[in-house]
Structures are given as C-alpha cells and as structure tokens.
C-alpha cells in the first residue's frame, strides 16, 4: 500500500508519521492545521473494505474534512438522524468507508448491532479534551473496545488548556480513550518554529486609543462587576474561593463561568439572590465586550434591554443590585450622551452626537495605504479583513459602503441607525409599560436594595477618579423615558438616506473580503482567497498561527499583515492572556507527560470518584479478555427512552451488565419490568416540570399503563444530596415550594413511588435491586403505550423543535403529538398553518388560541 501524505510542511509530516506509527493522543497548538493531518490519517487507512469512524466532530470539522478528503479522493459520509434513516445507515456501514457519526447515534447503532463493531478498522476522535468518563463518547469507546480489541484509536485536540484544568485531567482523558501515548506539538516545538519562522510576513501593528467615554464606561462596568462579586462573596463566603483574584484577572478570565462552576455543586440550594448575582455577572461581562465592538447606538439599545429585563417584574424575582449603583447611572448616561445630548443653545432640544468607533478611522487609513501601495503594481490587490464575529462584519461593511460617497461616512451610517433606534424605542416603550403595570411597586424596589449593607451611604470609599466610587445612587437606573424631544429633532437633523451609489466604493477598487474568525475553516479561506493584505480588525492568536502556516506554505506570495487593537482595554489584555495561557498549558502538559508512567499506574488506586472507579472496573474486565458478547440472553434488560441517552445513566447501566434496549418511549424513561416504569428527573428538571405541569401529565400516563409508576429524583454526583435548605422555607406553608408541590403530586397519585438517588451510580444499584423481583420488560409493548392509532413509533423525534413546540401556549403534553404526527413539518410551518387546520389538530379552543397568539402584534397588546 503506497500512500503519499499531502502535507506541505515538514512538521506536519512529522506529526502524521508519529500518529500513524502509534495509537495515541495528539495535542497540537491551535492554528497548525491539525484537521489536514486528520484527513491524511483517515485517507491512509481508507482502503476497500475498511470501516473508519470519526467521533466527536462538529459541523465545521466535517465540512473542512470533506474538502480535504475530496482532494485525497476519499469520500466522507456524515451521519445524523436528519440525513439518514436506520435502514440506510445499516446498509452504508456494511459498505465501509469513512463515517462521521454523532456519538449519541453511534451508541444506539452499536447497542442495536446496526453497525458491525468487530469490523471497524479504527476510530479517530476529535476534541479529545472534551471526553468525560460518563459521556456518550466514552460509552462509544467502551462499546468499541468491548467488541473489537484490534481496531485503532487515535485522538486529537487543539485545546491544551482544557487538559490542564482539574486534577489528572490528562490521565483521566487517556483512560477514557484507552490510550497511553501522548504526543505534544506546541508552537514553540523546535521543528514547528523552524518551519514557521523561515519567512516571516511583514506585520504592522496599530494601537488604537479608545474614546474617553468608552474608557469611563469600561471603568463603570468593572466597578459594577467588582461590587457584584463582593456581594456574591459576602452572602456565599463558605463556597467561593476568589481571594487570589485581581481586577486584572477579571478582565480576561471568563470569571462568570468560573464562579458558576464553583457554585454548581449546590446550585439548586442557592438563594434566588445569589442566582440573580451570578447571571448579572454574565450580563456585565457581555456588556464589557460589546462596549468596544458595538457601535454607540447598538450598545445603547443592548443596555436599554438589559436594564429593562434586569429590573425584575415578578415580586419573587430579585432586582439586579448593580442597577442601583452610581456607576450604573453614569454608565447609562454616558451611553446616551454618546448618541444624543442636550443642545447647548436650547435646553429642551436634543441633538445627535453619534460617536464613531475609533477603529473605523484607522481602517480607512489602512485601506488608503494599501490602495497607494498597490497602485505601484498593476494587479488588483486581494485584501482580507478579519473580525471577531459576523455582526462586526456587517458593521464594517455598512461603514465602508457609506464611506464611498461621503467624507463623513460614520455620520451617515449612524444617522440611519438612529432612525432605526427611534422606531425600536416605540416598541420598547410598549413592553416597558406592559411590564410596569404588573411590576413591583416602587418602594419594594428600594427596600430590596442589597448594597445598602455592603456600602453605607455615608462611608464613601476613597478612590481615584470620580466615576469610580461605589456609592449608592439616589434613584434606581431608569430606562430611557424622555425621548419625545428626540423625535422632533430627527426630522430636522437627519436627512433621508440617499440611494447608495456603488460608484466609488472601496469594494470597487479592491478585491475586498470581510470575514469573521471561523476556526479551522480559516485555513481554507486563506488558501482560496490567497490575500496580499490581511487586516486583523480584532485579535485572534490562532489566526496569527494560520497566517504563519499559510506564509510558510507559500513563501513566494506577497503578504502584508495589519493588526489593530484598542490599547489598555479588555481587548488587549484578553489577547495577551490567551497567548500566555496557551504557552503555560503546553509547558504543564509536557511536565505531566514526563510523570505519566507514575500517574497511570497509581491512578487506579487513588481514584476517589466512585463513578470513575465503577467504569474503571468494567474496563479492566474487558482488558482481561472476558467474552461479553455471548451473554445477551441472561443479561437483565432495561428499556431506555432514546432521549435519555443524553444522560449518563444508560452508559452506567450498560457498564453494570444490564442489556440496554434503546426505544422511543411515549410513557416513561426507563422500563424495568412489565409493572415498573420510571420517570427520571434531575433536581432542576423536577423543579421545572412541576412548575410547567409536565410531570403531572407524565405521572397520569404512567399510572394509566403501569401498576407501579415511579418518579426517580436523581441528584448529581458532584452536587449536594439535599433539596433547598430549610432556612429558605417561610414560617407558613408555601404553595409554591418544591416540597409542597411534591406533596400535592403524591396526594394526586397515591400509587406513585419515589426513588431518591444521590447519583447515577446509586441509581444503577437501586435498579438492580428492584429488577431482581420482577420479570423482564417487553420492548414492543412498552413502545406501543401512549400512542394513538396511526402514530408510528419508528420515527425519531427531534428534541429542539419539540421542546419549542411544547413551550407554546395551548400546546400541552396531551395534544402535542397531534401536531408532531400531522403533516405540519416544523415550527415555521406551524406559524403559517391555517386556523381551520389548527382547530382540527388540537381542538377549537386551543387551535384558535394558538392561531391568535402567533399573529398578535406587540403594538396591540
């Protein structure tokens, strides 16, 4: 077998050789086109009769690999429920080839023997860092190793950071993958550096200064973040470890996610105030990012919406405390003043200010320079502008289009946006009034002020810079009320837009492309466009790597790179932090690999996590060569609903020696015997489904078909085994407490039994206890329960659209199947369905209600 790898650079060939020669986990720095190597590995093994599985690839990966594999003349087949039926899948697997399969589907296909596990040549796993012991990828790998001991497993990742988080993350990951060998290729690897630094591209950096108002607003937001964190720490001192945090680290870390992770083990026991504070952090962080990327009007719009929804309408819901801070007031005022302000001549008139983003001007300067530069040669230069997201792309495109026919480009653009904003404000006021009618009385807002305790009004903190002080404002921040004067000004100041002439636009002088960063897809983009000039409008470390690779691959092409960033802002710090973090992670990984032999041998004894231990014990049994495939008849059987394969329980059940039969169930989640039917609820699910009434309907149908209906309340392994703390309960019996609803449920369904389980692991043991006393369940009967004639159980329901359907008013657990099994295909079609058809499907009352709800105009509310 002769195979010539299509890899242009020497280090890429080196990685390819290493992966081919030995099964292992390959950690590559982002941007070094690891997918190209994956494609070559797949092509290398793809010979007639071979069956290769690509696991854990996302849509983008698949699209890129299809392209690369096409060059290598090997087709890639992608399998998800939408594209291929069960029969089609079976046939395709038999024919062999390269398949990218969603892991949840692969689990099902392996369990139902649709795919011949023993004939699989090998598995290639992408994003290996994301694999956890209890996830479905690990389940696939276990099923694979059980039925096939000779096939290869090769894993890739380009996120070294994730392998250094937590204790023994690397060795844990390797155990799930059944791998021992690790190869590491950071950017600072000698061969990588050699290849890339041979012919460096010309780079021009622009340190753009943010406007004064942007800087002040950033300070305001950071002050709000600090106070929120301080408050969070005050009321949760026992669970939060944030002592080592500095203001700097706040800027670039995903601190909201870190805090959420720390609080997660007791999330269902936290007070609603704490939850409000945590979600505030996410909001504030997104404001921090939008501040430098959104134009001033879009930012104000975002801020208006945030303030409105954070204000709290339900008396049970807390108002976000940061809104009551002085900096929040300053923030909204500054945000407004960037858009319009009181006219200096007459105080009752407001005039547009419309501050432009500083980067716009720089961008124009760069483009003019390129134009001049290019005029020396006679070819049209190919220029590529890269931004963080599509939104910024639109913004720049808009800006460049308007700049062609007017000197004052940004003003033209912003005036158009201002007009849209004023239209929007009218709808916004509508919602606001609606909310205020039912909202909380004012005093209540004031008295719920959380920060009063934290910072007494008379004890002002001494800080540099006036806007920095964390004093309480006298009134809560109010959303924009006084906008009428603005309407009058719009007619006088803002002219109607001219039809855009395309005569002298930048798009004509240049071959100009504006794109957003899109991971590995950027490699293909660079190859296709082969740009002479690249403007990195936003920073992205991986993209710099890609440019380096592109440059090294084509050293003969002319290339100049411009790079703009706002100095001294979150943007710059985030960029520097990302670069440093990647380097640190690689150094740690290399150290950890050196100690690996010790880790792998001692890890088994030192494992404290029972879930891990549990799955591990299964693994050793398989490694011992136990013949597991011959026990199909004696194995205890559990019928499991397809949707449940997103949870860890089916994988654990299988690991414990149950025969797991995947079926699409209408009634129940797990069927243990002809009498025992279990509906599984995690604690958040339990709360949600008791509120929505869904659990009531589910219990109803379980009771109709099974003698012993069971509600399984499953706590998370890592979370506390306790419902809300009692201190949260009031002195009187509450109607809406979780416990009260549980009481009501058991009163309604006296036959309903409850399983309390501290983890999925505990559930498995309880299931085997219960099953010991009963007969085996029959899949066909279980599937038929709850279905009306004509509704066939063989088609698979898709989760996202069905959940949305159930979220609509007038659609209930009882009638949603009438829609799902009708010829209405999806939610968009449901919107266009005639009144007559809807009433036929779900009855006159619900049908009319739904029809009217869809068509109700916000302005008529």
């Amino acid at each position: 077998m002769e195979f010539e790898a299509k890899l242009p650079l020497s280090f890429q060939k080196e990685i390819f050789e290493e992966v081919r020669n030995e099964d292992g986990l390959c950690v590559v720095a982002p941007g070094l086109s690891s997918l190209r190597i994956v494609a070559n590995i797949l092509a290398y093994y793809s010979v007639p009769g071979s069956l290769l599985i690509l696991l854990n690839a996302n849509d983008t990966d698949i699209e890129i690999l299809e392209k690369y594999l096409d060059e290598l003349k090997k087709p890639l087949v992608s399998v998800n429920t939408d594209s291929m039926s069960v029969d089609g899948r079976e046939k395709a697997y038999k024919g062999g080839g390269i398949f990218a399969v969603t892991s949840r589907i692969l689990v099902l296909d392996m369990l139902t023997h649709l795919i011949p596990v023993e004939f699989i040549t090998g598995l290639v796993v992408l994003h290996a860092d994301r694999i956890t012991a209890t996830g479905s990828e690990a389940f696939v790998l276990r099923l694979f190793r059980q039925g096939n001991r000779d096939g290869f497993i090769k894993a890739f990742t380009d996120e070294p950071e994730r392998l250094t988080m937590g204790i023994n993350a690397l060795s844990g990951c390797l155990r799930c993958l059944f791998l021992k060998h690790v190869s590491i290729f950071p950017r600072f690897h000698v061969h990588v550096a050699e290849a890339l630094e041979n012919s460096p591209a010309a780079v021009v950096e622009f340190n753009v200064e943010a406007t004064e108002s942007q800087k002040s607003m950033q300070t305001c937001i950071i002050t709000c973040i600090e106070s929120t964190i301080k408050e969070l720490r005050r009321i949760n001192s026992a669970h939060l470890d944030m002592e080592q945090w500095t203001v700097d680290s706040l800027l670039h870390r995903s601190f909201d996610i870190i805090i959420r992770r720390q609080l997660d083990p007791l999330w269902h026991r936290l007070s609603s105030k704490t939850k409000t504070l945590v979600s505030d952090l996410t909001t504030l962080r997104s404001l921090l990012t939008s501040l430098i990327s959104y134009d001033c009007i879009s930012f104000l719009k975002l801020l208006d919406t945030v303030i409105l929804s954070a204000g709290g309408r339900n008396p049970m819901q807390n108002q976000s405390p940061w809104l009551l801070l002085e900096p929040a007031n300053t923030l909204i005022n500054l945000a407004r003043q960037r858009v319009y302000s009181v006219s200096p001549t007459s105080p009752n008139v407001q005039v547009p200010v419309l501050e432009a983003l500083p980067k716009w001007d720089i961008l124009k300067t760069i483009l003019d320079e390129i134009k001049q530069d290019a005029s020396k040669t006679d070819v049209t230069p190919s220029t590529l502008i890269m931004c963080a997201d599509d939104r910024t792309c639109f913004q720049i495109k808009d800006y460049l289009l308007s700049s062609s026919f007017d000197e004052d480009a940004s003003l033209k653009l912003m005036q158009r946006k201002l007009r849209d904003y004023l239209d929007w404000l009218q709808r916004y006021k509508k919602i606001k009034n609606e909310l205020q009618i039912k909202g909380i009385p004012k005093q209540r807002l004031e008295s719920s002020n959380t920060f009063r305790k934290a910072v007494p009004p008379n004890k002002r903190r001494r800080v540099r810079g006036g806007s920095n002080a964390t004093t309480r404002s006298t009134t809560p921040v109010e959303a924009n009320d006084n906008i009428e004067p603005l309407f009058s000004l719009i007619n006088s100041h803002v002219t109607t837009p001219e039809t855009e002439s395309s005569e002298s636009s930048y798009f004509n002088d240049f071959s100009l492309n504006i794109k957003s960063y899109d991971g590995d897809y950027d490699d293909i983009l660079l190859e296709e466009l082969s740009p002479n000039y690249i403007i990195m409008y936003d920073a992205d470390p991986a993209f710099i790597r890609r440019v380096e690779v592109y440059r090294a691959t084509h050293p003969e092409r002319q290339l100049k790179v411009y790079f703009t960033y706002y100095g001294g802002t979150v943007e710059e710090q985030r960029y520097l932090f990302a670069v440093r973090r990647e380097k640190d992670s690689f150094s740690r990984l290399i150290r950890e690999r050196a100690n690996m032999t010790v880790l792998l041998t001692t890890a088994e004894e030192s494992l404290t996590d029972p879930e891990h231990k549990f799955l591990q014990s299964v693994n050793t049994r398989i490694a011992g060569g136990g013949r597991v495939s011959s026990m199909s008849t004696e194995q205890p059987r559990v019928i499991v609903d397809l949707r449940e394969f997103r949870s860890t329980l089916p994988s654990m059940l299988h690991g414990h020696g149950f025969s797991v039969v995947p079926c699409q169930l209408t009634v129940g989640d797990y069927i243990l015997s002809p009498k025992l039917c279990v509906e599984r609820k995690s604690v958040p699910d339990l709360i949600q489904s008791l509120n929505s009434g869904r659990l009531y309907s589910q219990c109803e149908s379980m009771q109709d078909h099974y003698e012993i209906p069971i509600l399984l309340i499953e706590f998370d392994q890592n979370k506390s085994f306790q419902l809300e703390p009692f201190a949260e309960l009031s002195a009187e019996i509450g109607k809406n407490d979780l416990q009260s609803k549980l009481v009501l449920l058991t009163l309604c369904f006296p036959k309903l039994k409850i399983i309390w389980s501290s983890s999925a692991y505990a559930t498995v043991l309880i299931f085997s206890d219960l099953k010991a006393l009963h007969e085996e369940p029959d899949p066909e009967t279980a599937v038929s329960y709850g279905l009306e004639p004509g509704q066939d159980a063989t088609s698979t329901l898709n989760r996202a659209p069905v959940d949305l359907l159930l979220g609509l008013p007038y659609v209930s657990q009882k009638n949603y199947r009438n829609i799902v099994y009708s010829n209405v295909k999806n939610v968009t079609e449901l919107c266009d369905t005639e009144r007559r058809n809807l009433t036929e499907l779900i009855g006159p009352e619900c049908g009319n209600g739904l029809y009217n709800f869809m068509r109700k105009e916000l302005k008529d509310v």
């Binding site: 429920t81 939408d82 069960v86 029969d87 909001t283 939008s290 879009s298 919406t305 945030v306 409105l308 929804s309 599509d390 909310l435 025992l676 009434g693 009531y696 012993i708 085994f721 009692f726 002195a731 019996i733 809406n736 416990q739 609803k741 009481v743 009501l744 058991t746 009163l747 006296p750 039994k753 399983i755 309390w756 501290s758 505990a762 309880i766 206890d769 219960l770 088609s795 698979t796 329901l797 996202a800 659209p801 069905v802 949305l804 159930l806 979220g807 609509l808 008013p809 007038y810 657990q813 799902v820 099994y821 999806n826 968009t828 919107c831 266009d832 869809m854 068509r855 105009e857 916000l858």
Partner: protein, 208 residues
Amino acid sequence: PKLVSKSVNHNVLVSFRQKGNPLLPHLRNVPWEYSEIVPDFVMGAKTCALFLSLKYHHVHPEYIYSRIGKLGKAYELRILLAVVDVENHRESIQELVKTSVVNRYTLILAWSSAEAARYIETYKAFEFAAPTNIMERPSTDYLERVQNTFTSIRGINKSDCLSLIAHFGSMKRALTATQEELEQIDGFGPTKVRRFLEATHQPFRSQK
C-alpha cells in the same frame, strides 16, 4: 364520641409512640393531638405516615420492618418519612427505596426535623387541595407566554426574549425569522442564532 370523631378531621393525629420526637415542636401550622393509632402520623382519612430517623435505623435495622408489617396495606397513601441525619446514607436509602416499592409505600426524605414537620403539615393542609398548581395551565399574560415560548430554546434568556419580540413585533415573524434577520439582533451571537434556527426549522420528527 361523635364530637371527637369530627374534631379528628381537622387535626393531625400523632401516635403516643412519637412523644419526644424533635419534629413535634415544629408542627405549628396545623393543630395536632395524640391518639391511639397504628401508624405514627395520620394526616387525613386516606393518608398516614411512618417516621424513621436514619440514625435510629442504623442501630435498629429491623424496627421499620416490624412497623410496616403491623400497618400492612391500611390507608390509601402510606408515606415513609425518613430523616437523613447521618453522613453515609447511600446503602440505607437504597434499602429503604426497595422496601418502599415492594410494600407500596411512598418514600419521602427530609434533611431536618423542621423539614419533616413541614411535610406532615403540608399533607394535612393539602388534604382536599385541587392539583391545579401542578397541572399544565396556559398563562394568560402575553409577555409571559412569549417568554415561556422562547426560553424553551436552549441558551435563550429573558432579555433575549424581549429583544426578539421588540425586534419582530409578533411571534409569527419571530419564529419564521431567517439567519440574516436574527444576526441583526443585539446580543445574538452565532451560537444563539444556530440554536434558534435549529428549534424553528428542524422537522419535529425524522422519518424512518
């Protein structure tokens, strides 16, 4: 004697055996009295409870079985109210789950005497309550309905709901929105747009 039986309906009956149970001082919201009954608590004509502290259970594992044996299948709803007052509870809870399913008891776990008392109170208070509070009932408020609909899409929060309805003006226009339209909305990144489109455009079911 007739008067007595009438007052029984309003009170929680407590067995003399429960004297000294630390949950009794917490029984404040409903009246209670001692009575000669087989179970430990009677919260209604059809509802009774056996009380068990896991600490006690660890010392006297046979106790609860003798109580279950005596009570048998009397009362329609039999609660086994267990207080989790020990650290290593997994095995005993596993055992109690099995016992309760086999003997048709409904197991309720509480983590303190106060919480256990609240369960007893609530069973009494809700003796004749209608289940409307836990049944599916459409909300009547337009914006609440809008929120309920949109938040059933993963990753869409309440402020996104307001942005959506303010931008599109009606549910029909929002739910039939295209990718380009959604990308215009402030706060909507590529992930949110993708999830929204998946929920609105993917078919409810894929054919075999």
